[in-house]
Amino acid sequence: MNDELITLTPQTVPQAPAMPLSMVNRGEAVIVRQVNGCKTVRQRLIDLGLNPGAQIHVLKNETSGPMILAVKGDGRLALGRGMTHHILVTAVANENS
């Protein structure tokens, strides 16, 4: 793994305002800024691809019930509403959705 690695520092993460994932509408693309919550939950989410910097497309977000996300374009994840409050994201400027 010794190719050109960029060390990700806070300065390289976009500084747009962050909002909880639960507030993102269907069809929008966002980037994960921060994952809060207890260690087990955070680890599980990161293992599933929801790490800071990951791009998410929201496929389903209704007033109740879990959200469905497309993670990094490919995987589909169903996430309970409670958890989506704890994931902070920023909007992606201009994306072909």
């Binding site: 690695l5 960029i6 469905i68």
Partner: protein, 752 residues
């Protein structure tokens, strides 16, 4: 020396399909020592080598948070397989490579099996396999479509290659910046310690220490490596000071960044929308309004399948066992000169009658397991769990609990063990408590027999009704518990992957069907056999003075009848206060299938007055009849499959399409088997009239649905949830069952 290869990968990537394709029938399923996770091993021949293939549990990463991950990495570290085949879902490359990157950190030879390339292609994704191999340090990359057996030969070749020429230089994981320096320093410290290097690869251990991996920290403490632990803590502080991030986050970041850039260089995405066909299907299937009806429709189809499509073969097995085999048994006994002895009766009525009565239901279970396997393998089950999440929340659970409950429809025992996938203790206990209401496969024979006896072709409705009632009671129980015992406790977080839809591989479905039926057959040859013999004994022993002698006593005067008769009055308010009914229920504690077996023995015994006037047939004639019957059953099965369509459409009020009828047999074939006739009789007696008899039959079924799980399930519960909890379960199910049966009968009486 046998070469050992491990299969690793995320869940749902087709790892099992590949494992099955490579090992065929040469596989062995057991448990990982001390754990309840399934361990699959198999053998295959590659060239001149005999390979032992170990299927590691599906895992998303190699952290210490779940048992699957611990098993996977411990295996690779301790057993040092010759190579690890990392199976990856090509349509979900980035997430899948996260695990592979961690496997590479273990510095063991890796072969990348790029599976499900068909799904990737259909989405317009293009992957440069050569580039991928290059950028991962030159490891072999084999493109495959596991469920169509494509790429297997290339995979075997890659395995042969790695076995014959073990790679000298392994891809080496390295981190950059302050993190990289600390890893190197710590690794150097570890390399100087032979006690550690014997077991662990230095830079892997260093990384895990900086990640605060729980299992590693514990192991190091146990080994007294305090110096190392202190060094790691100090390193973490330095990293945080230098970068502003904690080491753990940084490590995950760098892994992902590496993978991100890697994927960008090897994967080409179409410039169209990311919405796939799978997503479009999901939009409907998980729709907030349509999702639930669609789910109910799927379940209805499953039960139509199980009840009606299995009927032709059920009848065939019934004839085969209870007439052909029974007849041969009688002739054989006569040939041995044991004609009228109690021994002959034990063999024919006791064993063939009891066990045979249960084996008749193998077709039913096969079809049920077939339907469940198809739903699971196709990926639909995850969507069902999603749809059920809302419903689960009423009970204080969440969608993931749905999966152990679905397993419960097959058998309660694995459902109890399946609750281990739930991380939260409360979720586990609650799910386990409700699992028994998911009517298990062993209770099904009871509904089938009663359905056929009392409702004819509408039996499918009775069966469906039972299952729905079971689910209803589970919901109500969960709801009650949530607001009493579990008041105020928040539900655990819900995270679930939705795998892409896939056509299930027929061979895998077939294998799963038979694997699960095996459990049933083993139970039949042990528990049920013992109970049948014990039951026969109890029925052969006179229970009243002057009632006869051993093996020459009327059923209702036997010891069994006397004992059951003492319990029977309890069931009077439910309409089945007969010794036959209560006796059957008691034996049902051993194994639910035995309820039918017992009824067979009781009623067949009573019905021997109905003589066997059959002309003696030759062996050849019997064989001919059996084969012809098998053929007929096969054709009728196809007919019943086709009939699912009209039956479903006929649910709509006012619609009445005719059904297929290949052999032109009359609709209402009054061919009630002798058991069914005897049941109708008996229930009529205990309830008071013919209509009330049918009502009592329903009440009886309700009782069977809800009462105590079988002793094997009880043992499993005691192991998983503790003695007090299990007692509560037993008590609760008995009470609820009795109340429900009584309510059904008493309230129903008002309407008849």
């Amino acid at each position: 020396m046998t070469v050992m290869i491990a299969l690793a990968g995320n869940p749902n990537v087709g790892k099992s399909t590949i494992f099955n394709a490579l090992t065929g029938s040469r596989q062995h399923v057991g448990n990982w020592p001390g754990k309840t996770v399934e361990k699959k091993e198999g053998r295959l021949r590659v060239g001149s080598e005999e390979i032992l293939l170990v299927d590691l549990p599906g895992a998303y990463s190699l952290t210490a948070y779940s048992i699957e991950e611990i098993i996977t990495r411990d295996f690779i570290i301790n057993e040092r397989p010759t190579a690890v085949v990392a199976v990856v879902d090509a349509s979900n490359l980035e997430r899948n490579l996260y695990l592979v990157a961690q496997v590479l950190e273990l510095e063991t030879p890796v072969i990348l099996a790029l599976n499900m390339t068909d799904v990737a292609n259909s989405r317009g994704l293009k992957i440069d396999a050569n580039r991928l191999s290059q950028r991962m340090g030159g490891i072999p990359v084999v493109e495959m479509v596991g469920n169509r057996s494509l790429g297997l030969d290339q995979l075997k070749q890659a395995i042969a290659q790695v076995t014959a020429h073990p790679p000298q230089a392994l891809p080496h994981a390295s981190y950059n910046g302050a993190l990289g320096q600390e890893v190197a320093t710590l690794a150097a410290q570890i390399s100087a310690n032979p006690a550690l290097t014997a077991h662990y690869q230095p830079s892997w251990l260093a990384t895990k220490l900086l990640e605060n991996d729980e299992a590693i920290l514990e192991a190091m403490e146990a080994q007294g490596e305090t110096g190392l632990l202190e060094a790691s803590a100090a390193a973490q502080e330095r990293i945080e000071a230098a970068t502003g991030e904690d080491a753990e986050t940084l490590i995950a970041d760098q892994r992902y960044t590496f993978i991100g850039s890697l994927v960008e260089s090897v994967l080409e995405r179409p410039s169209t929308s990311i919405l796939t066909t799978s997503d479009k299907i999901d939009e409907i299937v998980t729709h907030r309004i349509w999702g639930l009806p669609i789910f109910l429709l799927m379940m209805w189809l499953v039960f139509q399948f199980t009840a009606n499509v299995s009927a032709p073969f059920l009848d065939w097995v019934d004839v085969f066992i209870n007439e052909t085999i029974y007849g041969w048994g009688v002739s054989f006994m006569a040939a041995l000169g044991l004609g009228d002895t109690w021994f002959a009766a034990l063999i024919t009525d006791g064993i063939i009658g009891g066990v045979g009565g249960v084996l008749v239901f193998v077709p039913v279970l096969l079809f049920l397991y077939f339907a469940l396997a198809v739903l699971e393998d196709s990926g639909y089950m995850a969507r069902a769990a999603f749809v059920m999440d809302r419903v689960m929340r009423w009970m204080g659970l969440h969608g993931k609990s749905f999966l152990p409950l679905i397993v419960g429809f097959g058998c309660t025992v694995p459902a109890v063990y399946a609750t281990r996938t739930l991380e939260n203790e409360k979720d586990r206990k609650l799910t386990g408590f409700l699992a028994t209401f998911m009517s298990c496969g062993a209770r099904l024979p009871v509904y089938v027999v009663f359905g056929a006896a009392f409702f004819g072709t509408a039996s499918g409705n009775l069966i469906f009704g039972m299952y729905i009632l079971g689910i209803g009671v589970a919901l109500a129980t969960g709801f009650a518990l949530k607001h009493t015992v579990y008041r105020g406790q928040p539900p655990a977080p819900f995270v679930m992957e939705l795998p892409p839809y896939r056509a299930p591989r027929p061979r895998d479905v077939w294998r799963q069907m038979w694997e699960r039926v095996q459990g049933f057959l083993i139970k039949a040859s042990t528990v049920i056999l013992v109970v049948s013999v014990a039951l026969w004994l109890l029925m052969a022993i006179p229970g009243r003075a002057n009632a006869g002698s051993f093996n020459d006593v009327a059923a209702e005067d036997s010891l069994f009848a006397v004992v059951s008769g003492a319990i029977a009055p309890v069931f009077k308010p439910a309409g089945f206060g007969s010794w036959e009914a209560s006796g059957s229920l008691v034996t049902g504690f051993m194994a639910k299938e035995v309820v039918v077996g017992t009824m067979n023995q009781i009623y067949m015994g009573e019905e021997t007055a109905v003589a066997e006037p059959t002309e003696p047939t030759t062996f050849g004639q019997e064989v001919g009849r059996t084969l012809l019957g098998f053929g007929e059953a096969a054709v009728l099965t196809v007919q019943e499959v086709l009939n699912i369509a009209p039956r479903t459409v006929n649910l709509l009020p006012g619609v009445d399409i005719g059904e297929f009828n290949f052999f032109g047999t009359a609709e209402e074939v009054e061919d009630n088997t002798r058991l069914e006739a005897a049941l109708i009789n008996s229930f009529q007696r205990s309830a008071g009239s013919a209509e009330l008899g049918a009502l009592a039959a329903v009440a009886f079924n309700v009782f069977v649905l809800l009462y105590v799980p079988c002793m094997v399930a009880v043992a499993a519960m005691r192991q998983e949830f503790g003695g007090r909890w299990t007692l509560a379960q037993i008590g609760y199910t008995l009470v609820v069952a009795w109340l429900a049966a009584v309510v059904v009968f008493q309230v129903g009486k008002l309407f008849i």
